[in-house]
Structure formats: structure tokens, C-alpha cells
């Protein structure tokens, strides 16, 4: 079991989660972040700091988001690590509003 990033991160990428990860296990592409399930210790530090609630522990994952488990595993293996906070993507604040946060 691990913790994973889901679709709300897409086009936001606020990266607050990266700053509290004790294991440094976030990976990034141009659109969003992914968690490496091999390195993640499932501590949950990242879950409450996400401004758009994109991060779930597998046990709390809504059924319609289960495909994100495989996506996180595949994408994190292929992408570079992100170790520090970076600027949110342009338009992130509007998207956050659209998502109801």
C-alpha cells in the first residue's frame, strides 16, 4: 500500500507536498506529480498540505480513482525526482477554484 497523487494535481502542481516528504519520493512531469510507491513510507504527511486534495492513502481512495495506483507507479519510475518546492503551474489558482477549493 502507498499514498498516491490523483487527477486534481493535473495542471496545478502546487508542490507543497514535496516540502514535507521525509523520503523525497515525488516525481514530476510538465503537468503533475507522482509518488514512487517503492520509496513512499505511507506516512501521510503530504495528504493534508495539498491545496486541491489530490493525494490519497490507498485505503481512502475513491473507487473511480483506482487506476491512479498504476499510473503513479509507472510515471514515477520514468520521471525525474522533484526535491524542492517550485512555482505552481500558470492557471493553477483558477483550476483550484474550479475544483471547489
Amino acid at each position: 500500500m502507498a499514498t498516491l497523487v490523483t487527477d486534481n494535481c493535473d495542471l496545478c502542481r502546487f508542490t507543497d507536498c514535496v516540502t514535507v516528504c521525509p523520503m523525497v519520493c515525488f516525481h514530476a512531469d510538465d503537468k503533475m506529480l507522482y509518488i514512487d510507491p517503492v520509496v513512499c513510507i505511507d506516512c501521510g504527511a503530504c495528504i493534508p498540505v495539498c491545496p486541491v486534495r489530490a493525494i490519497y492513502e490507498v485505503k481512502n481512495l475513491p473507487p473511480d480513482k483506482h487506476h491512479w495506483i498504476a499510473i503513479n507507479a509507472e510515471r514515477s519510475a520514468a520521471l525525474p525526482l522533484i526535491t524542492d518546492k517550485s512555482q505552481p503551474l500558470p492557471g493553477a489558482l483558477e483550476r483550484k477554484k474550479q475544483l471547489g477549493f
Binding site: V20, C21, P22, M23, I41, C43, G44, P48, E57
Partner: protein, 453 residues
């Protein structure tokens, strides 16, 4: 090169060191009271949570960075003063955590059988300071005051079948005592309601998954007042909403025979402990909630009831200890600071910083301290960068001879690696990930024995 002293080697100390070293502008000497590093990762995280100890692997990587030095076995404020550190270093970062716990402040609190939860945690984790403590596990009724993650850890260690702990790094003395445990009923008591319990949902869920133990609670306690109902609908109340769902599921379970039973009780505060030679029980006052969502306080109703118990643990908050030579906020139990810059009378103290629990109080989990430490480290680097006339500082070349002249036997990170390897080898014999040395002398013997060999 900046010479920085970091006081404390727990998560906030290592995250501070990591941020400073990665700037390539600083060397870090990390001072630790014990001969061994990692603070709460070694001595706070429960033995049955091995994954949560893995951040130590990242700390070992930080320790391998050039410019890092570990100085174990030195107590700042006693073996060396804050003033002396200030003279030897460009800056000092205090990362010494919340070393003591808050008391209940009620009559009978010091009866034998009433303990700080942290003493139990230190004891089962083999912390040298808590070796002399003993806990009467022949008692069948146990009360835990507080509903945070430390309370959950204590409850889980008491409730678990001892065989489930044998392959962990729990201290051998604790394993022996727990094997004789006669604990049957564990009451875990919160002063506010179920929506205000501070457990993370993960810790709460685990309490419902313990083999041979069952959970029990009064379904009437799960009827929320309007303000609490608002809290769990709010995005800020997500953890509380998950907790409520778990508690409702617990309440719906059929009554079962079990070796041990965990009772969740809400809206109760102890007002006195009673007993004679030993603790006999607690007088609990029923509370009601008052206030707006996320600002609700527990107010006593005057209605009290007795709950017999022979063992009680308080887990109602933690605070730091005052460091001689530094200002201290007695009420919050922290060093007064602005984003990690230590302040006295509203003004920053040059070269003095803090990070972690001594900076913001005991909140969050291990990773929370990474962001917190980065904030402090960034301010420190900015301050030093804007100060054009930085004098050169002697750092360890003054500190180490000073400590040696005072008769201290300090450990290096290489020494720790020897102790670490010896603990892992000892543990392997018993099928444990490690068997900790619980006496400082035994830790130092490993170092000197290997040096002599």
C-alpha cells in the same frame, strides 16, 4: 564557509543540516545529548511501525555529505554553553524538540501507577533515560488520557499480542514485561468529541485491526453537535471525517469475545486520581462543547463518574525545555521565534535559530519538519549572506578540544555506524531488525572495543 552548529539530531536537526549543506555555503556540526543520533525516529516512532523509521536512511545520506560532523554525548546548556557555541560558530540552530510532557495538573497525579505516556514510549523504545521506569502490567484496567498519535501508540503496544512485537526492534526488557501483561481493558479518553480526536485516521484504523482485541464505544457518543457536523463536512476536517467513518464502523461491529478490549470514550476530563499506596482510578467529569466550528472548547458539566484503573498514562501534550542562555515561551513550551529566527523582546538574536518542535510546538509528523527546517535554513542563509563582514569562526577546532578538556567522551558518526552495526548483529540472533543498546556505557564500549581491536 559558514560554520553552523545544529543542536539535536532528530528529524528537524537532520533536515536543517541537509538544507544547509546542500547550499554548499555551510559546514554543519551536529551536537547530540546521547551518543547516538536520530532522536524521535529512534526513540519515539513505535517499534511496530518500521516504515516510519526509514527516514533515518535519508539522514545517513545527509551525514555522508561533505562538511557534516556528528558530535554525540554533549549536552548543550550543561557541557557547553550557548554563549560558547555562539563564539565558536557563525550561527546555532536549536532543534532540540519537545523533551517533556504536559501534566494533568490534578490531585493524585503522582500516585504510583500514573505515568507520562512518553515515559512508556521511551521505555519500550530503549531510551537510556527511561531504563529505571517500571510499569505495573499486572493491572487489568488501563486508562489513557488523550487521543493523539502517542496515545494510539501506547494503546496499540498494550493491546497487541506480544508475539506480534517479537520481530520488531522493541527493547528486550519491554518485550519481557509485555509477555507477562494481564491488561484486559484499555480506556482511551478524549476531553472533546469524536470529531476532535487528534489521531490520524491511519493510527485509528490500526486500533481496530489488532488481533485478539476488539474495539468498543457508545454509539450515542457519535451523535455530533451542529458545529462538529460542520467541521467534518469542511475540507479542513477531512481527517476528522475519515475518523468518524472509522468510529461508526467500530460501533457497528458485533460484540465479540476478545482477549483485550479498547474503549473509546469522549467528552470526559479527569479531575482527580484516587488510590492509596497505588493508583485506584480516575474521577472523570463529563464535558460539553462550546464554540464555533474548529474553535470548540470542552467545558465541564459538573457531572462526574469514577473509573477504576491501576495504570494510567497521560498524553495531553508536549513542550520543550528551557535552554539556559536562550529566551523561552513558558506557556507554549517553545523558543520564541519568527519563522525560526530566535527573538528576545521582539528583536532577533544574532546568529540564533530554531527548527522543529522547539520552534512551532509538537504538531505534525516527521515530514512536517522538513518544510519547517528548510524555512529556518533559508532565513539563516539569507541573514548570513546580507552580513558582509562575517568574521571567521573556529567551529569544531575549538569545540572538540574544549569538550575533551571537560572530560567528555564524544562520539562521531563513524562511531555511531559501529554501534548501529553491532545492534543489527545482536538483533539478527533474535530475529529482530536490531537489538538496541539501552545503556550509554554499552554504546561507548562498542566504540572503544572496536578502536582497541
Amino acid at each position: 564557509m559558514l560554520k553552523i552548529a545544529v543542536v539535536g539530531s532528530g528529524p528537524s536537526g537532520f533536515y536543517t543540516a541537509e538544507a544547509l549543506l546542500k547550499s554548499s555555503k555551510a559546514e554543519v556540526d551536529m551536537l547530540e545529548r546521547l551518543p547516538v543520533p536520530y532522536g524521535l525516529v529512534r526513540y519515539g516512532v513505535a517499534p511496530d511501525h518500521p516504515k516510519l523509521k526509514l527516514p533515518a536512511t535519508t539522514y545517513a545520506r545527509t551525514a555522508a555529505l561533505s562538511g557534516f560532523r556528528f558530535v554525540g554525548g554533549v549536552t548543550v546548556g550543561k557541557d557547553v554553553s550557548v554563549e560558547e557555541l555562539r563564539d565558536a560558530y557563525h550561527a546555532v540552530v536549536f532543534c532540540c524538540g519537545a523533551e517533556t510532557d504536559r501534566e494533568l495538573g490534578i490531585p493524585g497525579e503522582n500516585l504510583p501507577g500514573s505515568h507520562a505516556a512518553t515515559a512508556f514510549v521511551g521505555w519500550y523504545n530503549g531510551h537510556p533515560d527511561f531504563l529505571q521506569h517500571s510499569f505495573d502490567l499486572t493491572q487489568e484496567q488501563v486508562v489513557i488520557i488523550g487521543q493523539g498519535n502517542v496515545a494510539a501508540d501506547v494503546c496499540r503496544i498494550l493491546a497487541k499480542p506480544v508475539d506480534d512485537l517479537r520481530q520488531t526492534d522493541i527493547a528486550e526488557h519491554a518485550l519481557q514485561a509485555l509477555a507477562e501483561s494481564r491488561v484486559r481493558e484499555i480506556h482511551i479518553i478524549g476531553r472533546r468529541g469524536p470529531a476532535q480526536a487528534k489521531f490520524t485516521d491511519k493510527e485509528l484504523r490500526e486500533l481496530g485491526e489488532i488481533p485478539q482485541a476488539c474495539v468498543s464505544l457508545d454509539p450515542a457518543d457519535l451523535v455530533l453537535d451542529p458545529a462538529s457536523a460542520k467541521e467534518i463536512e469542511d475540507p479542513r476536517g477531512q481527517t476528522a471525517a475519515w475518523n468518524m467513518a472509522l468510529l461508526r464502523e467500530f460501533a457497528s461491529r458485533p460484540l465479540a469475545q476478545a482477549r483485550r478490549r479498547i474503549h473509546f470514550r469522549f467528552l470526559e476530563s479527569p479531575v482527580a486520581l484516587y488510590g492509596g499506596q497505588n493508583l485506584g482510578g480516575a474521577v472523570l467529569e463529563k464535558n460539553r462543547l462550546e464554540g464555533f466550528p474548529f474553535g470548540q472548547r470542552a467545558l465541564g458539566t459538573g457531572v462526574t463518574a469514577r473509573l477504576d484503573c491501576g495504570l494510567l498514562f497521560r498524553s495531553v501534550g508536549y513542550k520543550g525545555l528551557e535552554m539556559p542562555g536562550l529566551p523561552f515561551d513558558e506557556r507554549r513550551g517553545i523558543i520564541p521565534n519568527r519563522e525560526g529566527r530566535v527573538i528576545r523582546d521582539g528583536l532577533p538574536l544574532t546568529g540564533m535559530y530554531c527548527a522543529g518542535w522547539i520552534k512551532r510546538g509538537p504538531s505534525g509528523i516527521i515530514g512536517t519538519n522538513r518544510a519547517d527546517a528548510v524555512e529556518t535554513a533559508n532565513h539563516l542563509l539569507t541573514d548570513m549572506h546580507t552580513n558582509a563582514s562575517l568574521p571567521s569562526k573556529a567551529g569544531a577546532s575549538v569545540l572538540l578540544p574544549m569538550l575533551a578538556s571537560r572530560g567528555l567522551r564524544c562520539t562521531s558518526f563513524e562511531d555511531w555506524l559501529k554501534i548501529d552495526a553491532a545492534e543489527i548483529a545482536r538483533g539478527a540472533e533474535a530475529g529482530k531488525p536490531r537489538e538496541k543498546f539501552v545503556r550509554i556505557k554499552d554504546m561507548l564500549d562498542i566504540v572503544s572495543h572496536q578502536a582497541a581491536a
